[in-house]
Assembly symmetry: C2
Homo-oligomer: 155 residues x 2
DNA sequence: TAAGATTGAGTCTTCAATCTTC
DNA sequence: GAAGATTGAAGACTCAATCTTA
């Protein structure tokens, strides 16, 4: 009944949590200070630029960011009010809404990307050897895959 | 000027973010469903049980959880209202407030711990080989240490 | 009836200002 | 004046209910 986790694995878990909190917190502050952009907004802009047609449905955005749909609605409300994205109705399915980068949104993303990438490099990736990076990718992919299997069973 | 991050390292970073979001989200739901306890509350109870005298000052709690002090105040408000912790004034420094586990809080922690540890084992540590766990601990410790050096310079 | 998206109410967080004690 | 803690106002998220279209 008592789940046993050895000290080495527990250290890995606690280190994982600490790094997430500290590194992401730092990246948020750098982006806010230097480009005045919340990290959540950056992630939305990036998803839109990487999308096949340069646009996404509201629920695709929600699923990608692991947000509820209402949270996605309100996040896009704010980003749209700032003029960085535009909504447009879907022709095919008139229940649907597309979100698209505006020119201003693209310009903002171009301004923010170097800052954020520099932060990721400085605070995370530059501390990894090639071998360590490979181990991390492998392990993270494995953990994600196992969780996906599990959730599909449940759902 | 353009920060270059090779594909392997970027995969490590993206995997890291994905795992955090999915695993922590899952652990939150399991704790809420099975013990009706928010993960934030669990972390506070655990910190208190691990504290030297079984109690912590408000600002120690805030610093440990990387929370602002006002967030800590309100979090403790809620946990205290539920009867899981108690506040008491400090004798030595009368500006200070101590937070301490109540018997009910300790009982709740004992009920929650197996559920949470089982979750960590199931969704994270069980997917690591001994070598992978060692690499993770090492890397996470190094990244945290570098960030601490950096922030001390700035502050 | 179900799916896509939004809205209202409630929760939790942060920022800035405040109050008390050092 | 500075540190410890709290409070008011506002931002951002979730749940449940609602509206529209399929």
């Amino acid at each position: 009944m008592r789940p046993e986790i050895d000290a080495g694995r527990m250290a890995a878990w606690r280190g994982f949590l600490t790094v997430y909190a500290r590194v992401v917190g730092r990246l948020e502050r750098e982006l806010a200070d230097e480009v005045d952009l919340p990290l959540t907004w950056y992630e939305v802009l990036l998803l839109l630029r990487e999308a096949p047609d340069g646009r996404l449905r509201m629920h695709e955005l929600a699923d990608s960011r692991l947000l509820t749909r209402s949270a996605a609605t309100r996040l896009v409300d704010r980003i749209e009010a700032a003029g960085l994205v535009t909504r447009s109705a879907s022709e095919a399915d008139r229940r649907g809404t597309f979100v698209e980068l505006s020119p201003k949104g693209l310009a903002t993303l171009r301004r923010a990307a170097p800052v954020h990438l520099r932060g990721i490099a400085t605070h995370f990736t530059s501390h990894l050897s090639d071998e360590e990076a490979a181990v991390l990718s492998t392990v993270m992919a494995r953990i994600t895959a196992e969780l996906c299997v599990l959730e599909d069973q449940v759902v």
